[in-house]
């Protein structure tokens, strides 16, 4: 059996894995990043919508190569068809780009490679290796061959599947109410506004929402997330999405170019995102906005934090849970309050009737909201419908 040695082994070549690899390699560490699939960034498992501001935070310059469409705003549509439009001038950080993930992910992996990280494709982690109880590496299948990669620390960046952490003894189990099951069509020949992302809320997508994210003039990612606790029929996401498309005048003549699926967690992140010789980043750590289901920015940030903290750990050759504490602190300081608040809000919104959602969307249109973001929207809701935010009003 082939054996490899390195300082850091990163499992997963998505945005979180690439950022962790890049920053650990920039810190002078010997990094191997493995990717199970045959291509980085494909097949797609994502709606590709992101806000704009965070790219500066992770020091990545927007590149037309991987920006598919620049949004002027977003529209929220209520069950009875009331709409609330957020324009860029008001929407600030919440409006942004629709990406080409297959190119964006490769661009980040290129940066990791340029920093010195090695990348092994078609290499899927199948377990962890312990010696005297201590994590010392991973087992993997590389183009069909069993291999072992020994490292001082493992970065679990294996996305929603999140198996590496579980093999290492960390509980990443989710409750059915904290999972959305998703399906998305790339649809062409549709009559949509190419400058606005649309979100449709209510019982048409139980516990989740339907999205229309334009990728050009008559083309968009049209998808749905349904809360697993509310799934009833079997293939619920497909059932609800097909029903919606059939009824929608703009979409019903559309044709599908691509079908993708995926899972997304809607909880506030793991209680433990580190262990001795293990760091968990991005979706694998369940660090995703529970309201929007957006996780790209979170994965990039946590990946970057992990790479930087690992660099510091290497100086003392200490990758214990205690030495990795700064990682835990960095992401919690930056994101935890917001994740928790949006998790509470999601729980509440998922329980509201279509009538109340109609009222809320109407109210948003009337309310004088400064910069429109989730926080300010919740503030407006708090004023008119205090019962909706009962129990977490302190966070708003």
């Amino acid at each position: 059996m082939k054996k490899f040695n390195c300082d850091i082994v990163v499992v997963g070549g998505g945005p979180g894995g690439s950022m962790a690899s890049k920053y650990a390699a920039l810190g002078g560490l010997d990094v191997i990043m493995i990717e199970k699939k045959a291509e980085i960034g494909a097949p797609l498992r994502c709606a590709e919508g992101v806000s704009k501001k965070w790219l500066a935070e992770i020091d990545v310059k927007p590149d037309p190569k991987w920006i598919c469409a620049d949004m002027a705003g977003a529209t929220i549509r209520s069950p009875s068809g009331y709409t609330f439009q957020l324009d860029e001038s008001k929407a600030g950080a919440e409006v942004g780009y629709v990406l080409e993930r297959h190119l964006f992910d490769k661009a980040l992996a290129e940066q990791a490679a340029a920093a010195g990280a090695k990348i092994m494709m078609r290499t899927g982690c199948t377990g962890v290796i312990r010696k005297d109880g201590k994590l010392v590496g991973i087992k993997a299948r590389c183009m069909g061959d069993e291999i072992e990669i020994y490292a001082k620390c493992i970065v679990a960046a294996d996305g929603f599947e999140s198996q590496v952490a579980r093999w290492a003894g960390i509980d990443t189990k989710l409750e059915a109410k904290d999972i959305d099951t998703c399906i998305q069509y790339r649809m062409t020949n549709i009559d949509i506004d190419p400058k606005y992302c649309e979100f449709v809320i209510g019982s048409e997508a139980p516990g989740g929402y339907i999205w229309i994210f334009p990728k050009g003039e008559r083309i968009a990612n049209v998808g749905i997330g349904v809360q697993v606790a509310k799934c009833k029929h079997g293939a619920d996401p497909k059932y609800y999405l097909d029903k919606f498309i059939e009824k929608d005048e703009r979409l019903k003549k559309g044709q599908i170019l691509e079908i993708v699926g995926g899972g997304v967690s809607t909880c506030p992140g793991l209680d433990d995102s580190t262990a001795d010789n293990l760091v968990i980043v991005g979706d694998a750590a369940r660090i995703i906005d529970p309201i929007t289901g957006g996780g790209i920015a979170h994965a990039c940030r946590t990946g970057m934090y992990a790479g930087k903290v690992l660099t510091e750990c290497a100086k003392k050759n200490d990758f214990s849970k205690n030495a990795l504490k700064p990682y835990e602190k960095m992401w919690r300081d930056r994101m935890e309050d917001k994740l928790y608040r949006n998790w509470m809000a999601k729980e509440r919104f998922a329980s509201l009737s279509d009538d109340i959602l109609d009222d809320l969307v109407k109210m948003m249109g009337d309310a004088n909201i400064g910069e429109v973001n989730v926080h300010n929207l919740l503030k407006a809701v708090k004023e008119k419908y205090p019962q909706v935010v009962e129990g977490f009003e302190d966070l708003i």
Binding site: Q163, T181, V228, G234
Partner: protein, 56 residues
């Protein structure tokens, strides 16, 4: 578990949702291990109903 590969999108939704960590997606093939306790969550949540429970 019976997997219909005519339907499966290889999306990994069942893998990450499995309370027992009993499913492995080997790129294009789903492998169920002995930890599977047939709770049926994966059957219920698969976005395209690619999974069905084996009859006992």
């Amino acid at each position: 578990m019976i997997v219909s590969y005519d339907k499966c999108l290889h999306c990994g939704c069942c893998v990450g949702s499995c309370p027992k960590n009993a499913i492995y997606l080997n790129d294009y093939v789903l492998e169920f291990n002995k930890d599977c306790n047939k709770c049926g969550r994966c059957v219920k949540l698969c976005p395209v109903a690619a999974l069905t429970m084996e009859r006992a």
